[in-house]
């Protein structure tokens, strides 16, 4: 690059940095929004079921029913309510006061060890199927734990056709916060790279500064670099802020290496920026640029990246679409780095995909950016 070229680039970067520092919305997206989102997903949204309201119907109370309802009460998963008759409980279920019913019939104590598979009846509200499955699973778990304990106390061995031994890897506490928080990092970087960048370039068109900028010796690549560099720095800074919040505030473990996070983070930032620049080439006003950036960048990063919704349980057609969502690969990398460590096959495959996307988007940006008003 020539001296004049360096001077032009330095001038642009200085201007862009001043604008970022003076524009409250840039700072808000880079540093305030991450905190808000992390709090929302860290504390507000939880995909685990806790304190599920269930109804327990005890038709004939005795020592064994008391002991079983005691186990439900002790569990973190449930907050039980008691009903005299199944009819009352079913009404409560209809009115959504409770999410499930455990029905201990009057012959509970008698049948307990003679016919162990049919002594309790369970009903669950299936409107939210995910929640229903969880509730069902927790009830079964609590029941099994209790009956095993009871059997041991009596000195008999419980007859069970299959014993399932399960262990959860990487997130032993099965805490959804641990995989949501790394996902939030990907969302924030998408916002900075795609939304913010698309908006600031569109703003140059809106305010007529682009036309004046064009009639200077400024070259195409200098203009692109002048936009990329400041927002790249902003994005990486935000990545660190997020990272520190995640491990200190939310106690998310970080099993991978920091340099790998920085490297893959930089790569993802470049992809996001390329998408942002591409949008601003197409949309020359802020409103349209914002709409496109949200629809093609932010929402897919939210919905189609595997951040909240599991990609494997999506319909095949949607699964195909997720392959062109860059956030998908970065979310996978982040979740791996945070929770599992440097698992090379996962990191390499996803990094490769990001590199391909970067090549495609950069080629499009270079091809489409022209110093022309047409």
């Amino acid at each position: 690059m020539t001296t004049a070229g360096r001077q032009r680039l330095a001038g642009l970067i200085r201007k862009e940095s001043l604008q970022i520092m003076r524009d409250p919305s840039s700072i808000a997206i880079a540093f305030v929004l991450p905190v808000v989102l992390l709090f929302l997903f860290g504390y507000g949204v939880s995909l685990d079921a806790r304190n599920i309201p269930i109804g327990i119907v005890v038709e004939q109370p005795d020592a064994s029913t008391q002991s079983l309802s005691g186990s439900f009460e002790k569990s973190d998963y449930f907050s039980p309510f008691y009903f005299q008759t199944i009819q009352q409980a079913e009404r409560a279920l209809e009115q959504r006061d409770i999410d499930g019913i455990v029905w201990l019939k009057n012959d509970f104590a008698r049948k307990l060890f003679s016919q162990p598979d049919a002594v309790i009846a369970v009903r669950v509200n299936g409107v939210n199927s995910n929640q229903a499955n969880l509730t069902l699973g927790y009830i079964r778990g609590t029941w099994l734990a209790w009956i095993t304990h009871q059997a041991e106390a009596r000195g008999t061995k419980l007859e069970m056709p299959i014993q399932l031994e399960h262990r959860v890897w990487f997130n032993p506490a099965v805490d959804s916060r641990f995989f949501l928080v790394p996902g939030v990092v990907a969302i924030i970087m998408t916002l900075i790279g795609t939304l913010l960048t698309a908006l600031v370039v569109a703003r140059e068109w809106d305010r007529g500064t682009m036309e004046a900028l064009f009639v200077t010796p400024l070259r195409n690549h200098e203009f692109i670099a002048g936009k990329l560099i400041p927002y790249f720095v902003l994005g990486i800074t935000s990545l660190f802020v997020n990272f520190l919040l995640a491990i200190w505030l939310f106690k998310v473990p970080f099993e991978g290496s920091l340099w790998l996070l920085l490297l893959t983070g930089s790569l993802y930032m470049l992809v996001s920026l390329a998408v942002g620049l591409l949008i601003s080439v197409v949309a020359k006003n802020q409103f349209v640029a914002g709409q496109i950036a949200i629809i093609t960048g932010f929402l897919p990063a939210f919905i189609l990246s595997g951040f909240i919704f599991d990609i494997n349980s999506m319909p095949a057609a949607i699964q195909l679409i997720t392959h062109i969502v860059p956030a998908r690969y970065f979310v996978a990398i982040l979740q791996t780095l945070f929770l599992a460590g440097d698992i090379w096959p996962v990191i390499l495959a996803n990094t490769g995909a990001l590199l391909i996307l970067l090549a495609v988007f950069s080629w499009l940006v270079a091809k489409k950016t022209r110093k022309s008003l047409e």
């Binding site: 305010r207 682009m210 008003l373």
Partner: protein
């Protein structure tokens, strides 16, 4: 001889919806080095397109453009390195300070760091911006922004300077200063300047003028050559019996009259021939006229070259049947000690005036003088901070619909629905004003006919030429036959032809008894008003008839000052006092 710009046979068309618009059609010219050439023409003539083509921002359909010896189509980047261009809305970064804007352009244009101090000093001296270098560009006044834009364009003296309407919406003082900067650069650095403008008086300050109309070059000559054919055909008519407005209304309808314009105390007339007798015989002999031959100016030439001949057939008198018998001394609008603050900023400060029925009352001032704020308070759109006002006896902010029915309002920006057709807009607003059935039909028909909108009745409003958009807005404001008309910058951005037509309509309305309150930043339009106030930074500088105001600036050297000279005089008086 080497010409800095050579344009030969260029054409450029745009696709606007389904219509192909020929922006430029076989345009050819050469620019002389080291002088200012003016690019003049009505809206949509192709001025901006031409500027953009010259700096390689658009591609040409056919023809050739050579700028500083370079092919603008093939080597746009080389051209852009050597030319400075100031677009209509100069791209200042409003969140950067004046100095930071200047630094950016110094970096972009490759001004060496060691040369900067001296160049900045020169530019700040020229523009008078030295005290404001630390201020954000967004907080500068319109005139200062424009001067800063020019300073940015001149940070490295270019060989060719292209200025697209640099003086639009700028107050007369800043306008004069902008011209001084341009002249200074031409004389000192031998710069070639191409400048487009909507102000016809500026054409006379150019060494040469290119007149563009509908994408074609009508004429390219020194400004004096334009007005030469009009020698002996320009007159000043005066009458003691009629007001200038009444006189103008009469004269403009006569055959043989190309143009009749209110000027100073009389009416300036351009006749078709040097023979004026034929015109005089058509005037009622009871009216005594004093006639003086005057020198033609560029504006006369512009109008006579471009005015459509069939305009005479239109009678602008409206559908209004207000009786003139109402005492004209009745004060329809009263404003006392009006004040409006926005935080610490006082937008309108101690403004008082009153308007009588059937008067045209003007609020004259540059952008940001507080005209629009005053207007919004009068229309009840904005609460006052203190003071009192009444319009037709009430404060419109708390008035009933019935009182609102009496006013018509034409906003500064085109505020009709762009994606509705002309006829749909008319129907919609007619219903808004409570016109129904037969009456609605009548008024819509009247609007289409009186404003010559029939040809465009099924066009979307956003696709209309600017002059027609303005007509449509005006028609909408008048459909319910208001007694009081508020016109906020009705002629902003409208070319001289459309402005004349607009004032002819407004005059006719005032003659039929409608009270008109109008804001404008065109100083010459003040002549149309019965009385006016001149505003600057929220305050009233002077109040009176156009003649009274102009007399304020009367000196031996200036026996017949124009409204612009009067305005500059008043501004300077104010600065002297505060200094």
């Amino acid at each position: 001889m080497i010409f800095p710009v050579e344009v030969s046979q260029i054409s450029k068309a745009f696709q606007a919806g389904e219509v192909q618009v020929q922006a430029l059609d076989q345009v050819s010219f050469k620019l002389m080095p080291g002088q200012v050439t003016g690019l003049i023409g009505p809206d949509g003539a192709g001025k901006t397109t031409l500027m953009r083509l010259l700096c390689g921002l658009l591609s040409i359909d056919e023809g050739e453009i050579t700028v500083l010896g370079l092919d603008a189509a093939k080597q746009p980047e080389s051209v852009q390195s050597r030319v400075s261009y100031m677009p209509q809305r100069f791209g200042l970064y409003e969140d950067l300070t004046a100095q930071e804007n200047l630094d950016l352009y110094a970096d972009l244009k490759g001004l060496a760091v060691e040369d900067r101090l001296e160049r900045y000093k020169t530019l700040m001296h020229l523009t008078g911006l030295s005290p404001f270098t630390k201020r954000l560009a967004g907080k500068l006044s319109g005139g200062m922004k424009q001067k800063l834009g020019l300073a940015c364009a001149l940070v490295v003296p270019p060989e060719l300077l292209l200025l697209d309407e640099p003086t639009v919406g700028v107050d007369p003082v800043s306008r004069r200063e902008l011209w001084q900067i341009v002249y200074n650069q031409v004389e000192q650095a031998g710069m070639t300047v191409l400048l487009s403008t909507a102000y016809l008086d500026e054409a006379e300050r150019c060494a040469e003028v290119i007149l563009l109309h509908e994408g074609k070059v009508i004429n390219h000559a020194p400004p004096k050559h334009f007005s030469e054919p009009l020698q002996g055909r320009t007159w000043l008519f005066e009458s003691d019996q009629l007001t200038p407005r009444q006189l103008q209304l009469k004269l403009s309808l006569l055959s043989g009259v190309i143009d009749a314009l209110i000027a100073n105390q009389g009416v300036r007339v351009v006749s078709e021939s040097t023979e004026i007798e034929s015109i005089l015989t058509a005037v009622d002999p009871a009216i005594k006229l004093q006639i003086k031959a005057v020198q033609p100016i560029f504006e006369d030439a512009f109008i006579s070259l471009l005015k459509k001949r069939d305009d005479h057939s239109v009678n602008y008198s409206g559908s209004h049947q207000l009786s003139k018998s109402v005492s004209s001394a009745e004060e329809v609008i009263k404003v006392e000690k009006l004040e409006r603050r926005f935080g610490d900023f006082i937008a309108v400060n101690d403004v008082s005036f009153s308007v009588k029925r059937g008067e045209i009352f003007g609020l004259l001032g540059a952008n940001g003088a507080g005209k629009s704020t005053t207007f919004r308070m009068l229309c009840g759109l904005l609460p006052l901070s203190s003071g009192q006002l009444s319009v037709a006896g009430v404060d419109l902010r708390h008035a009933s619909d019935k009182a609102r029915q009496k006013i018509g309002y034409m906003a500064q920006k085109f505020s009709l629905y762009g994606n509705l057709t002309v006829i749909q807009n008319l129907h919609f607003y007619a219903s808004c004003y409570g016109l129904f059935k037969k009456r609605k039909q009548e008024q819509v028909e009247w609007a289409l006919e009186a404003f010559e909108l029939s040809d465009y009745r099924d066009s979307n409003a956003k696709d209309l030429p600017l002059g027609y958009k303005q007509r449509l807005s005006f028609a909408v404001a008048l459909m319910h036959e208001p007694e009081i008309l508020f016109l906020d910058e009705p002629t902003s951005g409208v070319d001289p032809l459309a402005r004349r037509e607009f004032w002819a309509r407004t005059n006719a309305l005032a003659e039929s008894g409608v009270t008109v309150l109008v804001t404008t930043h065109f100083m010459d339009e003040a002549n149309y008003c019965d009385r006016l106030i001149i505003m600057a930074s929220g305050q009233v500088l002077a109040q009176g008839t156009p003649l009274q105001l102009k007399q304020l600036a009367q000196k031996e050297a200036q026996p017949l000052p124009t409204m612009e000279e009067a305005f500059i005089y008043l501004i300077e008086q104010q600065t002297d006092q505060s200094a």
